[in-house]
């Protein structure tokens, strides 16, 4: 207990301590020399690849995966190309980046999952350096080739390669991923993003500092450290607005590794630098802490410290949390320290316990003391220290009446879990998800229940993961697995059967996948997998069933690229919803396909309509006519005589218009029949208009209206009269009266009044403003409504007429 501060090292105002986490279980013959090593953050697994560079083609290097405590998880000979870099994704998958730019992905247990490439161009020039990084978007990969071209992929699960612009001078000395790529070339620093390469200057770093040879960003991407060839280390914020410190390390060789060591909320970030035989902690102050190193080590940046892995053991280097400082600092008078002391005395049955307690209580700091002890327990690794702190807290709590036990309870709970998983056999994972990925299912489920994590986030996720693994068990039959999964998973919220089915398919068990998909309630969820499994028909009907057109469309596009045309169309034919959707798309994007689609269906009606539409886009008359002719043929095939005839007539009309345009320059092409006749009449081409009237069997009424209006508009009154007498008007003569009146020609209008049928005569008289005549006609016809109409127009001054009308109205009413 007394030695708790023995491994504390002061740096500025803070203390740093190096705690041993494990003696490694592994037995590495050659240590970590000549190895590619990658360890996942949050106490994640460690991957090792031996002799990556100089290897004879005959000997295959071994790729090994260990838990953080060094328990072997997987090991297999590396058969692929030379590897430049290893790295772990956020979901603990191993990335192996090869010289040729291809990236192979393995799971935690060393089974191959998939691969992708960082681009064609990389293949030739080879990857020089690579970095795996984590961001809110997921896990990213950045590489630089021998020709100094950088390529970036921010999320490997949604791969979009960004080839960054060329860098000035085509050389670089150090690089880091931070707001794009941060890269140095001698003393200059650049930010490289998708579009440009911008020079930036770290504040307070003069050119005399020398060339930047190493750089590092913190775990949170908030801070940046630069190391120059004169041995200076500059630290500051990563957006290069402020400088924090500059330390002279008095080392001129660049460090092998440089990692930020910072506790969240701590004001004193520092950087851990590693050379061959030396580990140095440098921070804001000018002092440094130096540790000699015996073995080659690897530094792993963590959220709150740095893990140091060597072949023999693993240590955690971290800033001593403030609360621990207060309690354990020598001669500390902090309430927590006093409480711890009080409890110690109490265990010894010494009355001093009471003195200490009184002292705390006098300052009314007992609550604070308990809080400190609880918090410090959470930060300690050694379970004995944890225990003594918690006991002290619980002891102190007895003297408090209204202290909320919540923090105490949850800390106990969490510590139990943490201790359980830190146990050597499990090996340090910190969160329950990481537990799950390591396939300690029962433990994980217990942990979830124990920590009272909502089912949705906790147990369900464990179950999902369990099921995903279950389906990979090759020794069980499809039936047995499907049943087992169904029994265990049931309707747990948040467990997606399609996800499990996808796993099954990945391991080559399509039948099982389909069985599992049947459990999936939401049809939309089934679609992507069905597509992947090439069950396209089923996928299409599921998509249609889901009612989500976007999904239908996704399937349709997929089918289009996967199937030959004939099959594609046949498939659509069975799905009217999908078909109409695709038609819509074709109308806007691919007119030709539309035609094929109708052809396939023998849909002559639509085909004909298609040709009609197409004809309007055609400028040349000949092509337009030929398209229309095709339309006519199709209409005939569709037994749509009406449309066929109408189209034929259109062709005839077009030819006629063309002829007249050529002869007279009439500008008729494209007009409707009516408009053509109008234009002809307006031009005085009566003969031609009559010809159309006969040829196209224009109804008499229409033609008469047309001619009447046109003659009146041109004020050809004599022509009009002649026309009116040419035969009995099919539109009657009231029309003549009205049209003349519209042209304000009363005398002409009056000429036709007498010809109007008796039924309309009143109206005709009224139209020309002849009240007397209207009255006569109305009285003669003894019609109520007509009399009323005349009366309404009759001025009050004309008493005589009024009387006559009223009398007649009365008489008509009697009847």
């Amino acid at each position: 207990m007394a030695f708790i501060t023995a491994n504390w090292n002061p740096l500025g105002e803070a203390f740093y301590r190096k705690t041993e986490l494990y003696e490694m279980c592994w037995n590495l013959r050659d240590g970590l020399r000549d190895c590619l090593v990658a360890a996942a953050p949050y106490g994640g697994p460690i991957a090792l690849l031996r002799e990556p560079v100089r290897r004879s083609p005959s000997s295959r290097p071994q790729l090994e995966i260990y838990s953080a405590s060094g328990v072997a998880i997987a090991s297999f000979p590396w058969k692929s190309g030379p590897v430049v870099q290893l790295g772990w994704t956020v979901s603990d998958e191993l990335l192996c980046i090869q010289e040729d730019g291809s990236v192979l992905i393995y799971d935690l247990f060393g089974s191959f999952k998939r691969h992708f490439s960082m681009g064609q161009e990389v293949m030739q020039s080879q990857v020089l350096e690579a970095k795996v990084f984590h961001s809110p978007y997921g896990t990213g990969v950045a590489i630089v080739t021998a020709s100094s071209r950088f390529t970036l992929a921010t999320n490997i699960d949604d791969l979009k390669l960004r080839r960054l612009p060329e860098v000035p001078g085509n050389t670089w000395s150090a690089g880091e991923v931070c707001r794009g790529i941060l890269m140095s070339n001698g003393p200059e620093l650049y930010i490289l993003d998708t579009t440009s390469c911008t020079a930036v200057v770290p504040p307070g770093l003069g050119p005399q500092a020398g060339s930047i040879v190493h750089m590092s960003v913190s775990f949170s991407y908030k801070y940046l450290a630069l190391f120059t060839d004169t041995g200076h280390m500059w630290t500051g914020s990563s957006h290069l607005q402020d400088k924090m410190s500059e330390v002279d390390t008095k080392k001129t060789t660049p460090p092998k590794q440089m990692v930020w060591c910072r506790r969240p909320k701590s004001q004193q970030p520092s950087v851990v630098l590693m050379w061959d035989r030396l580990l140095m902690v440098a921070g804001v102050s000018h002092d440094t802490i130096q540790f000699p190193l015996e073995d080659p080590c690897v530094l792993i940046g963590e959220l709150d410290g740095v893990r140091i892995i060597s072949s023999a053991n693993q240590e955690l280097l971290q800033e001593v949390p403030l609360v621990c400082q207060e309690i354990f600092k020598i001669a500390s008078m902090a309430p927590g320290a006093l409480l711890l002391e009080a409890h110690r005395e109490y265990q010894k049955s010494s009355q001093k316990a009471d003195e200490y307690l009184r002292e705390i209580k006098e300052q009314s700091m007992l609550g604070e003391a308990v809080r400190q002890c609880v918090e410090a327990a959470g930060h300690e690794y050694d379970s004995n220290t944890q225990k003594s702190l918690l006991r002290a807290a619980s002891f102190g709590k007895c003297f408090l009446t209204d202290f909320s036990p919540e923090a105490f309870v949850s800390t106990c709970r969490e510590l139990r879990v943490l201790n359980a998983v830190r146990e050597r056999g499990v090996g340090l994972p910190l969160t329950h998800t990481q537990l799950v990925y390591r396939q300690f299912y029962p433990l994980a489920i217990e942990v979830c229940r124990y920590l009272k994590i909502p089912d949705y986030q906790g147990v369900s996720r464990v179950l999902k993961h369990w099921a995903s693994c279950k389906v990979q068990q090759k020794d069980l039959s499809d039936e047995a697995i499907a049943r087992a999964v169904c029994v265990k998973v049931g309707d747990s919220p948040g467990v997606s059967y399609s996800h499990i089915a996808a796993k099954a398919y990945e391991c080559g068990r399509p039948e099982l996948a389909i069985k599992l998909l049947d459990f999936e309630a939401r049809s939309g969820e089934q679609v992507p997998l069905l597509l992947k499994m090439k069950r396209s028909q089923l996928a299409l009907s599921k998509a249609v069933e889901s009612g989500d057109t976007d999904l239908v469309y996704t399937v349709v596009t997929y089918l289009k690229s996967e199937m030959n045309r004939g099959d594609f169309f046949m498939t659509l034919r069975n799905q009217p919803v999908a078909l109409s959707l695709y038609r819509q798309f074709c109308k806007l994007q691919e007119q030709e396909t539309l035609k094929d689609l109708y052809n396939q269906d023998d849909d002559h009606q639509e085909l004909a309509n298609y040709y009609v539409t197409a004809s309007y886009r055609e400028k040349r008359l000949e092509s337009r006519l030929s398209l229309l002719q095709t339309a006519v043929d199709e209409y005939n095939k569709a037994k749509n005589e009406f449309s066929a005839k109408a189209t034929e007539e259109e062709m005839r009309l077009l030819r006629f218009q063309r002829k007249l345009d050529d002869e007279k320059g009439a500008g008729l092409l494209g007009l409707s029949l009516q408009a053509t006749m109008e234009a002809l009449l307006a031009l005085g081409l009566h003969k031609q208009a009559e010809q159309l009237y006969r040829d196209f069997r224009v109804p008499d009424k229409r033609f008469w209206w047309l001619k009447l209006k046109s003659l009146a508009e041109k004020e050809e009154w004599e022509e009009l009269e002649k026309f009116s007498k040419s035969k009995k008007s099919p539109i009657g003569y009231l029309a003549f009266v009205e049209v003349c009146m519209k042209s304000n020609n009363k005398p002409e209008a009056k000429k036709y009044v007498s010809k109007v049928t008796p039924e309309q005569r009143v109206k005709a008289h009224l139209a020309v403003g002849d009240l007397e005549g209207a009255a006569d006609a109305a009285i003669e016809r003894k019609s109520d409504s007509e009399l009323a109409a005349v009366l309404a127009r009759c001025p009050a001054s004309d008493r005589q007429l009024l009387d006559r009308l009223n009398r007649a109205a009365a008489a008509a009413a009697k009847k």
Binding site: T549, Q589, T613, W705
Partner: protein, 616 residues
């Protein structure tokens, strides 16, 4: 007003929240592209956007210049372009052209596309095909609902109608479902949902799915009941000429986003004036639901009252004058301005609509609705076509004839069609094909005995999963059966009685007492019966797809709650102002309030124009 209105109508919920949500989200999206940027806005989003965030708000969030999307090369000099568009392939293609043109000239810019209300997969497909998917970022602005007035909310998606009902493209169904979901989460839970029509049913299901996926919060409902209705359940109503003031203004001046532009003939000056038409306009609010024949009288009475108020000034002492100026004058002035505008509009309408032609047009419509003097109506339509009165109007009458008569006799069908083509060009063959597909203008099939079989086939076709039959069959199912429906629901009041339009006795007043709108009648009946029981024959005639679902939220205990008398009616495919007026009338009669949610405000010409296919 003269209505015997019940005074216990509940208060409507406040829909301002919808605007605020939309605005906040838009601002958030704009800030995702930091720095100055030019904003390109799709033409038909301009007005809705203006209701949500005005230019100064946009400028505050570093929008530099605003442009309308015009499908032309752009002139912007900004390095960042943001596009606010509907998820239309044509627009996305244009953006691709813009980006590719920049690429060709070696110019670099950032592009961001904000799709509203959502993005479709097809848009991504186009971006990918054109090779710019890596160059643009896309986002969705889930701006589903635009409150146009206290009781009107629009999705502002006019293309919903054509896409869904003509092209059979159901992409918007989910949008409707999401809109309903939004309303439900803000103003629900709904205790009862009724609906009719295939699209309504799908929208309902889409909404249910979204409810099940999301969290459920128990809260006090502000909207109790919901009624979903497809436009194709009732085509007759939107095809009739509107004679209620608001509808008439829409027919003549075209109301856009609750805003109308009155031209010089109305304002009696040389300028046009844009006027917001909503309940804030006190004059308008009093006449919007009135039959046009009453409006002028009302306005002149109002003008006289106004004069009296002005006249009060005479004989006031200084103190009185002071209070008059500070309290009343501004209101009076405002009222004066509005009054003179509406009087101007009225005069302009009178000029156009009291003419002989219009009266005859109405007479024809009424005969069609009643089913009398059909031959005369046909000759009227024929003459209408021959004299080329109006391309749209003629089609409208043809459709009305076809629906009310359950299709045209083959002889009439051919001759009218031929004449129409002669008048307006043969390219309308395609328009006629569309109208036929929608069942708006069809030929009577010889042998009407098929009906039973057809409705069976129709059921099969409309079944969601069993869509194995070709589309051609589904048009068979679209028999209008108007005459039978009209008899069953008593849609056409007996014409021998005098109908006093000033004191309407039923919803028929919106069509001069000649016809109760089918859509509104259905709503009335279903609400009265609390379901479709007793309407089996009617739903059979309407080809089914009716549903009535009770919500899970223990509606019985709260049945007396005010919210139960707030009814949300969602029209899928658009509704007319006349229908809204009719529902307002119904609400006053029954002591409840209706909120109309529609994919867009429609009227006869918008309906027909959406179906034109003369692409010349």
């Amino acid at each position: 007003m003269a209505h015997s209105a019940r005074t216990d109508c509940p208060e409507l919920p406040d829909f301002f929240l919808l605007k605020r949500l939309a605005r906040d989200q838009l601002i958030y999206l704009l800030e995702q592209l930091p720095g100055k940027k030019d904003l390109f806005i799709e033409a038909d989003l301009m007005s809705p956007l203006d209701r949500i965030a005005n230019v100064s708000t946009l400028k505050q969030h570093e929008v530099d210049k605003l442009y309308k999307v015009e499908y032309k090369p752009i002139v912007s000099t900004s390095d960042q372009l943001c596009f606010l568009i509907r998820p239309r392939i044509q627009t996305v293609k244009w953006i691709c052209d813009v980006a590719n043109a920049d690429k060709a000239t070696g110019r670099f810019r950032r592009y961001k596309i904000i799709f509203t209300p959502q993005k479709f997969y097809a848009c991504d497909a186009v971006l990918e095909e054109q090779g710019i998917i890596g160059d643009v970022t896309t986002d969705e602005w889930s701006f589903y609902l635009l409150p146009l007035d206290d009781d009107i909310i629009s999705l502002e998606l006019p293309e919903f109608f054509r896409d869904n009902f003509l092209a059979g493209d159901q992409r918007w169904v989910r949008t409707a479902g999401s809109a309903l979901h939004l309303l439900h989460s803000l103003y629900g839970p709904f205790s009862k949902v009724y609906g009719i029509g295939r699209c309504s049913k799908m929208a309902y299901e889409s909404w249910r799915e979204q409810v099940e996926e999301g969290e459920q919060k128990a809260r006090q409902a502000e909207i109790g009941k919901v009624f979903l209705i497809d436009r194709d359940v009732d085509f007759v109503t939107p095809l009739c000429s509107q004679v209620v003031y608001e509808g008439l203004v829409d027919d003549i001046f075209k109301i856009k986003c609750a805003c109308v532009e009155f031209g010089p003939d109305v304002t009696s000056s040389d300028k046009s004036i844009k006027v917001m038409l909503n309940s804030q306009d006190r004059v308008f609010n009093e006449i919007r639901n009135e039959h046009f024949s009453n409006v002028f009288g009302f306005l002149s009475q109002k003008a006289r009252n106004l004069q009296t108020s002005y006249d009060k000034r005479r004989g006031m002492d200084i103190k009185q004058m002071k209070t008059f100026v500070s309290e009343e004058l501004k209101g009076l002035k405002q009222e004066h301005r509005l009054l003179s505008l509406h009087i101007g509009a009225c005069e302009s309408i009178m000029k156009k609509k009291t003419k002989q032609d219009f009266q005859e047009l109405l007479k024809t419509e009424h005969s069609l609705l009643e089913g009398f003097e059909i031959r005369e109506s046909i000759s009227f339509i024929e003459e209408h076509i021959n004299r080329q009165v109006s391309m749209i109007e003629s089609l409208r009458l043809l459709c009305l004839l076809s629906i009310t008569e359950n299709g045209l006799l083959p002889k009439d069908y051919r001759s009218l069609k031929a004449q129409y083509l002669q008048s307006y060009g043969v390219d309308h063959l395609l328009t006629f094909a569309n109208l036929r597909q929608l069942g708006l203008l069809v030929e009577q099939q010889p042998g009407e005995t098929l009906t039973v079989m057809e409705s069976k086939v129709g059921k099969l076709v409309n079944d969601r999963t069993g869509g194995k039959l070709s589309d051609a069959f589904s048009s068979l199912a679209k028999k209008s059966n108007f005459r039978a429906l009209s008899r069953k629901l008593n849609l056409v009041p007996k014409s021998d009685e005098e109908y006093d339009l000033r004191v309407p006795r039923d919803m028929a007043y919106i069509f001069s007492g000649a016809y109760v709108p089918l859509s509104c009648k259905l709503i009335e009946q279903v609400l009265e019966r609390d379901g479709w029981t007793g309407l089996e024959e009617v739903t059979r005639l309407l080809n089914g797809h009716e549903f009535a679902v009770t919500g899970s939220s223990g509606a019985d205990s709260k049945a007396k709650n005010d919210a139960q008398r707030i009814i949300l009616v969602m029209f899928l495919g658009g509704c007319t102002f006349s229908e809204i007026s009719a529902l307002r009338f119904l609400g006053r009669e029954r002591g409840c309030k209706f909120i109309v949610v529609t994919t867009a405000i429609t009227n006869s010409s918008r309906l027909i124009e959406a179906l034109l296919d003369n692409l010349v």
